[in-house]
């Protein structure tokens, strides 16, 4: 190929009036396929249960054209669970994508921001320490709201300790790991000294689960996630240059310190909303952005595809957890078992392709 007369291949654009974007066919296609697959698994998840409701009837009911019985089973009994999976999966996927981008580290996830550790410590405390204030708190605000407060409190503490005229990725990872370790120690100590029946209950929460979600719990997580996603999407344009490092971003006219602070806060809050609704479901936030990156063929975690990959992984895992074995498993057991091997497969396939 001669470089003399070759017009370099520069990204093509699409225009709608005053709006223009870079046209990336693969990203659009993969994101659309992920959305379609998520909707399909969502519908299958709703159709399966003690009574099987056929897929066409599920779809009809979702769009408001079902009979009263279907409507009761789909909307009242099964929808909260499926919707919780959708919202929690999206929140975790986007939170993971933001944190991995901001820390410039593929091993970063909300777990290291202390959100999960803080929420777990509070939840285990409420379950295992009986009497007095603990019972009062659990009784009035509910376990998941208290866990949410614990998670956000710890996340904000990590954020505040990291703050030094801005948020630095490495400092955040180090402080987050330290604070999480303290919370982990607290949780272990509570479990070691508690009554055995309470321990079983606490363990069930710690694994993460979509069982017995109420509309109430889902509603809180849904609105929190929606508002945060609006903030993330509106900041996404200023976020792009941060992938090139602070100084390059500054040279391109981005107030990187402010942009990063806002997005890091969004990541903490998204993770908090997710943990409050489903418990600390492991691995989704870590693996969903990495899977999305490889499917889209993007050098950085794509936000929309990461959210959808998270939702697909979580709802799919929940479906497997409920149907694969005679006894239902908590979803947290399955996410790691499915997500881990799939990421390894993508990595190995990339290696093989590079070699040939």
């Amino acid at each position: 190929m001669s470089g003399l007369d070759v017009q370099p291949r520069v990204a093509a654009g699409v225009r709608f009036g005053r709006v223009s974007f870079v046209w990336r066919p693969r990203a659009v296609l993969v994101t659309a396929l992920l959305a379609a697959a998520t909707f399909a698994v969502f519908c299958v998840s709703v159709s399966i249960g003690d009574f099987r409701i056929s897929l066409p009837r599920v779809v009809a009911t979702i769009f408001g054209r079902g009979d009263p019985f279907d409507e009761f089973v789909v909307m009242d009994l099964r929808m909260p669970r499926a919707l919780a999976g959708l919202v929690v999966g999206i929140a975790m996927g986007v939170s993971g994508a933001l944190i991995q981008s901001l820390a410039r580290n593929p091993l970063a996830s909300p777990d290291i921001l202390g959100v999960t550790g803080g929420a777990s410590a509070v939840a285990v405390f409420l379950v295992t320490v009986s009497g007095g204030a603990s019972a009062a708190v659990a009784g009035t605000v509910g376990l998941s709201t208290a866990a949410l407060a614990g998670g956000l409190g710890t996340g904000l503490l990590v954020y505040a300790l990291t703050w030094r005229r801005g948020i630095d990725g490495f400092r955040l990872v180090l402080i987050g790991i330290s604070v999480s370790a303290v919370m982990q120690a607290l949780t272990t100590w509570l479990l070691a000294t508690a009554d055995i029946r309470d321990v079983a209950k606490a363990q069930a929460w710690l694994v993460g689960s979509l069982d017995n979600r109420s509309w109430e719990e889902v509603r809180i997580a849904f609105w929190c996630t929606l508002v945060l996603l609006v903030v993330v999407v509106s900041a996404a344009f200023q976020f792009k240059p941060l992938h090139l490092g602070d100084e390059v971003a500054a040279g391109l006219g981005v107030r990187y310190s402010a942009v990063r602070a806002v997005l890091m806060l969004c990541a903490v809050l998204l993770a908090g909303a997710a943990v409050s609704a489903a418990g600390p479901v492991p691995f989704v936030a870590l693996v969903a952005p990495q899977i999305a990156m490889r499917l889209v063929g993007s050098p950085t975690p794509p936000l929309a595809a990461s959210g959808l990959a998270g939702a697909l992984l979580l709802i799919g895992s929940d479906l497997v957890a409920r149907t694969a074995l005679p006894t239902a498993l908590p979803v947290g057991v399955v996410t790691a078992a499915i997500g881990g091997p799939f990421l390894v497969y993508l990595l190995v396939r990339a290696n093989l392709r590079r070699r040939t």
Binding site: M1, A11, P299
Partner: protein, 297 residues
């Protein structure tokens, strides 16, 4: 032939004494309680290549970073087109002033054309993220830096010299005629360093003002029209290399014993350092600066 990027608005008209666009006025800069630069004044002569040199830790990168608004002076100000750079919108500054930091790192797998396209960021908005203008400017920036046929390659798969050309290409796509480059030849072997500096010279020929920090003194002399020699946070000397570079100055700035001879290739001064070893017996005797001061410490 016009291969250049459209000039930024407010570019100076060619005249006898073009207006200084970028200058530092009485800046004091430091990190925490440590002051690196104390009350420094410097004006960047337009249309020339200015290189800041000086010993390690003398504040040359700090000066460049302050000119680029990465660091905020505790006192004094940096003025760009008559406006305090700290008070201007950083996006507006980015339309006038391009910056290439030292050893930038691209995410693994990012392609050359995508990286260079990021240079258009100051000209874009949330709704208008890509236009045909952007595509044209990026294509020209790729062509000007000679990396057009690498456009589809990932940046991390390139050699050090190619990679640096690509980053300069990104800074060019920003469409500014003021460019600040922090050690653009770091980690490059001599051939690649010459290659990158020849590119800097092309940019200068096309009318841009370049300010850079270099470690290699002989390369700085060869490729600059204006040298800024720093020591301990202050400017020791400034001017054309032919007027500035003397053995006395090198001794004062770097504590280096050296002879300055006529460069047989470039008609500029050439520094030949005198170390302790492998030196001919008569070399030191003919050196304009004797080792007397040096020998005492």
């Amino acid at each position: 032939m016009t291969v250049g990027i459209p000039e930024a608005p407010g570019a100076p008209e060619a005249s006898d004494a073009p207006e200084v666009r970028l200058a530092a006025r009485g800046i004091t800069v430091g990190y925490g309680s440590r002051t690196v630069i104390d009350g420094l004044d410097v004006a960047v002569p337009p249309g020339l290549v200015t290189t800041i040199i000086g010993p390690n830790g003398c504040g040359k990168s700090t000066l460049l970073g302050t000119l680029a608004r990465l660091l905020r002076p505790a006192r004094g100000s940096v003025v760009l087109d008559g406006e305090d750079i700290a008070k201007a919108r950083t996006r507006d500054v980015a339309k006038k002033l391009g910056l290439l930091p030292q050893a930038p790192v691209a995410p693994e797998g990012l392609t050359v054309s995508d990286l260079v396209a990021r240079g258009r960021h100051p000209h874009q908005s949330w709704l208008r993220q890509w236009s045909s203008d952007d595509a044209d400017v990026v294509a020209r920036a790729l062509a000007l830096t000679g990396v057009s046929d690498l456009a589809d390659r990932p940046v991390d798969a390139l050699s050090g010299g190619q990679r640096q050309r690509v980053w300069i290409s990104m800074a060019l796509a920003q469409g500014t005629d003021l460019l600040l480059l922090d050690e653009p030849t770091t980690y490059l072997d001599l051939a690649h360093a010459i290659d990158v500096l020849d590119l800097v010279d092309d940019l200068h020929e096309a009318g841009r003002t370049v300010v850079m920090v270099l470690h290699d003194l002989n390369l700085a002399i060869r490729y600059s029209d204006n040298l800024v020699v720093m020591k301990a946070g202050a400017i020791l000397a400034q001017g054309h290399p032919r007027d500035v570079v003397t053995a006395e100055l090198l001794h004062e700035a770097f504590g280096l014993r050296a002879r300055v001879i006529d460069d047989p290739v470039g008609h500029r001064p050439l520094i030949v350092p005198i170390g302790r070893a492998h030196v001919r017996a008569d070399a030191g005797a003919r050196a304009p600066v004797e080792g007397a001061v040096r020998a005492q410490d």
